[in-house]
Symmetry: D2
Subunit: 365 residues, 4 copies
């Protein structure tokens, strides 16, 4: 595969650029018989959409998804499902000024060296705009997993620069533009972002997501552990620089006697491991954290080189997010859903006949 | 693929269990004409080997690798290279006591629920013993990349519990049993581990690795970014709970004006991004960090359930590492080498014809 | 992968049904810098198009292809290329009468048992209509291979029922509706088809295709031999029942002393093997034959069962080809081009450094 | 994947050369809980073994298979199963005379041009010897499919040069060295082969194999049709030049009214399609034919070139089969079993939940 396909049994192949005519995905391997229409996908696209608050890019895209195939009389047929979202608000003229120079921290220079030239309009294929296709595909996985397993994935902003946020009320993350899980701190985030905007600067962030009602047994040793495949998918999101499972980087400080999650007939006594053991789901909640770097498209002037290698100054204008992490929550959820869906199908390929003599101590289902 | 194969153009398929007759790997896609013998692989296996210090498992395995195929008259032929390492010091009787119960923090319970039963001897396929095959495969990638690109990968212990280590002298990491890059602090590590041993406990750790002389252009957008594939490989190592690229989790605290690596004709001015931009190598050093949890095989008694779901107590004896991170350095290096090798081949499949008009500012080669 | 993707380094993922809104393909891994527009693809679609003679389905589709991504300023960027062809002449009402019964010889019953229900309009995903996407993708491979290697693929009708056709003038195949390579026999084919039409019946056919200027060395032992991958692609065409390489089924009658293609400094003395040796291209022309069954959509009444398993009679009306082989030539060519393109890229992934000491005896380039 | 792996959910990766120390396979994705030992595999290896009659190569290999992993207490664990067969009767000195020249009809020249040099001992990786690994892997699929589905695959010699053989008694194929399904004609085959041997020549052959008790629904449209994947696997066998499904090349002569297999509540009325419809199994027997070319290793002198491109004469001595098709039956069966096994697992990944409202008219199970 050539890099634009995710998954093995449930595969998502995406295409499209920031300023091309359209973006989309082909979802292959979806079980037949799932009730599906654009209305099932649109809510996830809404959550990802720009232009909905002052703190995201002001690009206005309706992001209306069309289903071109794979659905008949309202149900999936088992054939590949093609999803299409048209671009309508491309302002490519904004990008003439970066046509011949490389934005620091962006993919520009790396793409130039890899391909010999690049689609400079809005970053082309490297733009966060392309995640619209992934989110659309994730919505299909979300519906299937919810309806067949009761599985749910919920994400929120857990850190933005100096501000750490506790999951006081994860369900509240959907009702504010920052995906903040603590309603009492929304004002603090807003103030911080206004100051950042005045500085013409940007900030990093961390997103946390939890999958509940995950059956035990998903994940394939040796290399395709569930945590390895989650890491692959999540590190593949634009601007991601770290992926943690469960307690993540904190485990370097932990002792075995503190870390290990003891088992009892009533379930595990803790969840430091974040729902995976040996790369296989344990039936506990699967917990991930993804850290995103600050966007490099800022008003602070910086040094760079042009396409001939000469030094030049750069100031990025255009429509950019001061904190890309703010919009990453639906993308993290989508990636997680796609990986869990793929592994649900992969698991039953090999192990459909298995009956374990051991009771499920997580008793979640 | 069913989980035991890594890579697409350069593929590594491993097999074997902790207490089976042998472990091994089939390496497919290796370019022909590479001079190769067991002597090229053995040094990496030595670095990974147990029983070489008081602070690793006392299991004594010679880990002598045999090449069963793919080499003729001392050179790789282009056919798959089969590597075999026999197990000689299996003491399976040690494991009778965990036969019917699940060790907390281990894969036992998850394997049981996935497969319906498990090879309980030393953890079977979930044992760190199986990484011997990965390390052997990585040695082939190491040789090819060094000889054709001058590429080198070096790793070290950067954290163990409360102790943070600076890379004062990375080359020193090879000459002490802790892979400590700061010779002045070896004694401190040793003291800490003695105390841990007296406590019958274990501790987490972080490993850092750097690849130098990496050509710009490796990595495939969208999903198979180089950082995504590194995350996949590294999170696939036993006990890994976090993977970071460049500044990793620290970027959540950084501003764009601090984070972005400015470009000049003489090279980048910093390397916060750890050598990747938009998922493609930039020509800078690729920097990764992997955090490992403390092993759960400790002498401190703990709670668990048995195969019928009844509560029981467990005390793990047997031969275990108090800090699995200590032995992870060669494994992290191997995984990184395999991923870089695979992407070097994948890159030239698509882009062998490309000539960029832009000079290589990293001037490393 | 879930069945709708072909290739590994150059991958083609298709979607769409006979009577859905659109069909298309995502082509991933195309080398960057190739000049490409819809005008490069349209001619191949024209050759495949229905409604252009009295002897193919009378469905009228303009088959105008749109490029949705992967091309910037007239050149491929290295990003996935999405191709879209809209359906405009769906007459789904034709299919109400087969809604509840299975056409013999068609995929209907097999799809029903696999997926539990089926898109019965025009055969849904199993329709030959979907090959429009494959042909569009093949046109990209054709352009790249022609421009970089001088490689060309040409196909023709070599058999239709009782009529065997010699390749008197393969270039003439493009100028008659039967892809007949012998202009003197076009009338005979026409007469035969008129009689068939009067009988309300259909007939089988064989297509031959030849790739010239194929470099030696393409194909991967063991399983991904070039002939194996050609067989996979060609047997994957609707209605294909046999794939032959070189002399094909005739080799069962041949002696080794007759069959073997002797080598001389001026080239091979014959080409019984059809351009492959040990699954690797030899530099000779690659020769394939594909045999297609007669379409089962005929006016002759037949027996079948309905969706409840009850016996019923069936007469297929609607717009059908009396000989599907007539339209298969562009599809065979496209499949062959995609496989050769994929293996060209795969070969250079592993063997880009190879220089053989042996001169190329085929001297074709 | 790099060419030496077959399958997606049930994958077989093979390694080894004709004259290396060992050959083997890694079988990944096998369902857990299958009772398995070397004794289950050995009978298939015996059927494939050389040196058992005067009409196959006189190389004497015990072909004793070892299971190195994936089995615990007599059952498969779900971990990869490594199979090893040691070479014991390598007579490499036989091959010194072909070291510097290319045998016509063999892979020698193609390998040389692909890899720059070659393992000339017995053909190295291109030798039919390597199929021992495939046959061993197929034996695992055979056992699983027989025990869980009652599925059986049986093959026989259906043509050898001028001699066509009817399947008078397929079960008799196992009791004569020619896999002849008509006991009355064994003498005729023997006489023909003695004459061939006196002539120092070889002959082509065709093998037929039938899978019975195949469930309806296996196979993935679009590209991974069951017939396409069978064609891939079967054309990947050494010396294969044609693959046919059902009536194969004969369908070019057939009319739709003759070809189509009508359905009745009591089953299909014929099986011209060989058990597949639209690339999906129909529940009928799956019927394949593979045509093998005559081996090119004959005593009749021939022309060729040496590694410097100079013309030379060649006479192949050594231990060779006058008709490679004679030994191909177990290999064809193994390939078919691996493909059916893979698709059984792939099918349930996507469609485990499906219940068709239509009764299974094949009523075989």
């Amino acid at each position: 595969m050539s890099g634009n396909t995710l998954g093995q049994s449930f595969t998502v192949t995406t295409f499209g650029e920031s300023h091309g005519p359209a973006l989309g995905a082909v979802v292959d391997g979806c079980p037949p018989g799932l009730a599906l229409s654009a209305a099932d996908i649109q809510p996830d696209l809404e959550r990802r959409r720009t232009g909905t608050s002052k703190f995201t890019s002001q690009r206005q895209e309706p992001d209306a998804v069309k289903l071109l195939s794979g659905v008949f009389e309202g149900r999936t047929t088992g054939a590949p499902i093609a999803l299409l979202v048209e671009n309508t608000d491309q302002r490519s003229r904004d990008y003439d000024k970066i046509k011949d120079r490389f934005r620091p921290g962006h993919a520009d220079y790396a793409y130039q060296q890899k391909y010999g030239f690049r689609d400079y309009r809005g970053g082309g294929r490297s733009s966060a705009r392309v995640t619209v296709a992934t989110v659309a595909a994730g919505a299909i996985a979300r519906k299937y997993l919810r309806e067949t397993l009761g599985l749910a994935v919920t994400g929120w902003l857990s850190r933005m620069g100096p501000i750490d946020l506790q999951a006081v009320d994860p369900s509240a993350a959907g009702s504010n533009p920052f995906f903040c899980p603590d309603p009492s701190r929304v004002k603090e985030l807003e103030d911080y972002l206004w100051q950042l905007r005045r500085d013409g600067d940007s900030i990093g962030a961390r997103v946390t997501a939890v999958a509940s009602n995950v059956p035990a047994g998903l994940g394939e040793p040796m290399f395709d552990r569930i945590d390895a495949d989650l890491a692959h998918a999540l590190m593949g999101i634009n601007a991601a620089k770290a992926v943690e499972i469960g307690d993540g980087v904190e485990v370097a400080r932990q002792r075995g006697s503190d870390h290990r999650d003891e088992l009892t007939p009533a379930g595990f006594r803790s969840n430091h491991d974040g729902g995976t053991l040996g790369g296989i789901t344990s039936g506990q909640d699967v917990v991930v954290h993804v850290t995103f770097k600050p966007t490099s498209s800022i008003q602070v002037p910086g040094l760079t080189v042009d396409v001939t290698g000469q030094p030049v100054e750069i100031v990025t204008t255009g429509r950019h997010d001061p904190c890309v992490g703010l919009r990453a929550v639906p993308i993290v959820e989508a990636m997680m859903l796609i990986v869990l869906m793929d592994h649900h199908l992969r698991h039953r390929a090999q192990c459909a006949d298995v009956v374990s003599p051991t009771p499920d101590i997580t008793q979640q289902r």
